[in-house]
């Protein structure tokens, strides 16, 4: 029955992987039976294969992070669709903002119109886009907070923090990275921005939008803007611009939260 073919290393590897035909496997076993040290080596390789499976197979049963499922469901053309959706959302708030910008011109203090308009508008768009998301509100969930903060800090190029708002009944849902403002074709590449999302017991959502500033602007007072149903308090603190947005809270509640955020960021 023997094929008389010499036993090669490839045969031995295939033996370890269980990929030999029955006849050839018997030949390999017979060959190993007369070679104790080779037999031991091959036994160790089989153990090794089992050990690898035993060590890494549990990953198969871990819950899959939302960010991966979301990307997988996106589909091949989604980039264009997402972009289009973004422009629609931007258009929807632009009209509202035009009136608000005039109002803000009369203000006596910083943030200036350009600084404030840009961050409040962007924050309102981001809030309107992501806060209604039920299944995928964030890219990285709060249970991976250390990773979330490290990741966003790395991408923004500055240390960001996610304030804890539990004292106000809001828990951190997680965060996401968003494209920076400005046209990369007409200036330096805009730095990306971060959005942290919080949720209250009744499902009300608040987002904190964090942007890095190119220069140190000093500090500014809180400024308020309202975009349709979205209220925004925004301020600039040294090299960061912040905007706190909500569609559910009234102005007084949102201001209280803004103070809480400010205190946490400036202990």
């Amino acid at each position: 029955m023997s094929s008389d073919l010499p036993i090669t290393e490839a045969d031995l590897q295939a033996y370890v992987d269980g990929r030999l035909a029955v006849g050839r496997r018997a030949e390999v076993e017979a060959w190993l039976a007369t070679r104790a040290s080779e037999a031991e080596r091959i036994a160790q390789l089989r153990d090794q294969r089992e050990a690898l499976r035993a060590f890494y197979d549990p990953v198969l049963h871990e819950p899959v992070p939302e960010r991966l499922t979301r990307v997988a469901r996106r589909g091949p053309r989604s980039r264009g669709i997402a972009l289009a959706a973004g422009w629609v959302a931007l258009g929807a708030v632009a009209g509202v903002l035009a009136g608000w910008q005039l109002h803000s011109l009369q203000a006596s203090r910083l943030p200036t119109l350009s600084e404030g308009a840009s961050i409040a508008r962007s924050a309102a768009v981001a809030h309107a886009t992501y806060s209604p998301e039920v299944r995928h509100p964030v890219e990285v969930a709060a249970d991976q907070q250390a990773h979330l903060v490290a990741w966003l800090s790395k991408r923004l190029g500055a240390p960001v923090r996610a304030p804890a708002l539990d004292a106000a009944g809001l828990s951190l849902v997680g965060g996401r990275l968003l494209p920076g403002e400005g046209d990369p074709a007409s200036g330096p590449q805009p730095a990306p921005v971060a959005q942290f999302m919080y949720q209250g017991s009744k499902g009300q959502r608040v987002t904190l939008y964090v942007r890095t500033e190119r220069r140190d602007h000093g500090e500014t007072a809180f400024r308020f803007a309202r975009e349709g149903s979205v209220s925004v308090f925004y301020w600039i603190d040294r090299k960061f611009g912040y905007a706190l947005s909500s569609g559910d809270l009234d102005r007084a509640e949102l201001l209280r939260l803004a103070n809480l955020v400010y205190k946490q960021l400036n202990p």
């Binding site: 370890v16 090794q48 050990a51 198969l60 899959v64 992070p65 589909g75 091949p76």
Partner: protein, 166 residues
């Protein structure tokens, strides 16, 4: 778009392979995310009806190789074994941690072959196609990877080996 669900269903396997390939959990998931994004961006290159799993592993391999090259241009693909890493003094998972570390010390190209064959249970032909290398190269890398992993494990102190026997 049946592929969407098919790809979602393959995520656990992509994560398992990525975890073994790069070690760190978050880095592994980042690799999976980049792979999925790349897969959709290049989806026009996928031929429907062929093995989607093998194609995704090819995409992941390419993403990983590009990252490794970008991050560590000089030492990533060398055969040099660094010093044996310091191991935790205690812990019942001593053996598996050692396995993890020993795996991390394999040259990239050997680790990829070993994991596709041993973890992902690909045939040698499938692994060759996924990595874009001849099957003979798969066999030689597989043999070298296993041997190196085996000897690295044997070099460990007796206490660790006892854990293996248990």
């Amino acid at each position: 778009m049946d592929e969407r669900q098919a790809i979602v269903d393959l995520i656990p396997r992509l994560r398992r392979y990525a975890r073994a390939l790069v070690g760190d959990r978050f880095a592994a998931d980042d690799l999976v995310q980049d792979t999925l994004e790349r897969a959709w961006a290049k989806f026009h290159l996928y031929r429907g009806g062929t093995d989607l799993r093998a194609w995704l592993f090819t995409v992941m391999h390419n993403v990983h190789v590009n990252r490794v090259r970008a991050l560590r241009p000089t030492d990533a693909l060398t055969d040099e074994l660094p010093e044996v890493a310091q191991r935790a003094a205690q812990g019942d998972s001593l053996m598996v941690r050692d396995l993890d570390r020993a795996l991390a010390r394999l040259p990239e190209e050997q680790r990829a072959v070993l994991l596709l064959v041993a973890l992902e249970d690909m045939s040698y032909e499938e692994a060759a196609r996924a990595l874009g290398i001849p099957i003979g190269t798969v066999m030689s890398r597989l043999s070298r990877a296993r041997e190196r992993l085996r000897t690295t494990m044997l070099e460990l102190p007796a206490s660790a080996k006892l854990m293996v026997v248990k």
